[in-house]
Subunit: 240 residues, 2 copies
DNA sequence: GACGTGTTAGACAATAGTGTCTAATTTTAC
DNA sequence: GTAAAATTAGACACTATTGTCTAACACGTC
């Protein structure tokens, strides 16, 4: 249950580094990485103890030292593992961005839900929010690659996707990257408070957040004459 | 320079708890709290050592134990200190919200800049982002009060302020609290990436972020006929 | 069954941190 | 100036943790 997303996406990325084991005992490496991710996320780098990780991974402490020479090596391996998986999931989700202008409101909302579910609210997302925040300054080089290929790239990629829709006349956008950043910000507007104390939004909260975000986004960037169901908007006429 | 905001707002909140000192040695308490805030922020709770705090506060370790019985007591005191100050600054800033509909775009942008500068980008803001994220789950009761009176209240308070403007016809808003949350989200849209690796935005980045946020906010919630400088919008007339 | 690889439990030294205690010193109040 | 209060440096016991080492063990292949 808790490791659902991890377990799901793990098989997709074939582990290429051949450690002391071939592939039969690869499961040890995986359980160590998973347990370490949980403990590091829960306790932070200095708060996490190797013994705790060993117990949670159902592995002896010595095994951890066999695979990863020292605590910091393990930490770096965990970070890289999570980041690679998170970035893969991010771009896999981005590839589901709607390209047809029909049902834009619903399609964008569905996309927003996929994005939050797959990338922001899962264990990897929580891990990254927490660890980048707390350990980011201590390991600048470590997170730099992820930052470049993850968060930084998402705006431009999403911006390009919005550009496509704009060229089809479905959106009126000046600065596509800005619109992308704002779209992401709006999606998170209702969820920030939930993230804050470590919780995960319910399905309903997710849908409401997506709906709210898309409505406002379209009011700002959608084609003119946006009919809102709540209050009958005054009829507008374009004069020249 | 670094403690500018802290030093500014500190005298405003009279310290009421009378520890072992009356008020002459109160400066010790303050330097301990400041140093502890920095170290806890940098290293997290378990990573921070009392010795490090003592050195940074230019105080002997024993003095810290005299004032605060143990590490956790000190931690809680620091958290409460920062939160109280942050909330005070937050509502002090909220009180500068524009109430005149003229020059709304500029006034809202200026307000957004004040908000980011005074509450989000200063040391206290960084401290809270980091510590609530990493230690929030360990001390649920500790942050609960702040959450109620800070982040949770800001939406409703800001929402009420937007409502005033809306009633004057300056804004077209259905859900005021939602609009407030989205305003905050938009203001942060361009800054998230900077927060991510612990940096502080420059004055110019701050202004651009505020300008972008307000423009989009007004496109979504502003009165109709929003003139954009880039592309001459068609003149619109409300019929009935 | 022998062998090699990987795993395990436990002991171990080394280090670092917490919290206490004491005696000397400084600061503050009167 | 004197006495009380606060501060300091240092030693101290205690605990937790890291990382190493060793001997026993599991498990497969040959």
């Amino acid at each position: 249950m808790k490791n659902h997303a991890m377990a799901l996406s793990r098989p997709s990325t074939a582990r290429k580094d051949t450690g002391p084991t071939q592939r039969g005992q690869c499961s040890k490496r995986v359980s160590i990485l998973d347990a370490a991710a949980n403990v590091f996320c829960r306790e932070g780098f200095s708060g996490a103890s190797i013994d705790e990780i060993a117990i949670e991974a159902c592995v002896s402490r010595q095994t951890i030292y066999n695979h990863y020479r020292e605590k910091e090596t393990l930490f770096v391996a965990v970070i890289e593992d999570v980041m690679e998986r998170a970035n893969a999931m991010l771009f896999s989700t981005l590839s589901t961005f709607p390209d047809k202008p029909d049902h834009l409101q619903q399609d964008l909302a569905d996309f927003a839900i996929r994005l939050t579910k797959n990338c922001l609210c899962n264990d990897d997302g929580k891990f990254l929010r927490r660890l980048v925040q707390s350990e980011g300054e201590r390991y600048p080089h470590l997170f730099e690659g992820w930052r470049q290929h993850g968060p930084c790239k998402i705006s431009t990629t999403l911006g390009a996707l919005f550009a496509k829709l704009a060229h089809k006349g479905a959106l009126r956008i000046d600065d596509f990257d800005l619109a992308a950043r704002q779209f992401l910000a709006l999606v998170n507007a209702d969820l920030q408070m939930i993230y804050l104390f470590g919780g995960k939004p319910t399905e309903e909260e997710l849908q409401t957040a997506a709906k709210n975000a898309v409505e406002t986004f379209l009011r700002a960037y959608g084609p003119r004459v946006q009919e809102t169901s709540s209050q009958p908007a005054p009829v507008l006429m374009a004069v020249s």
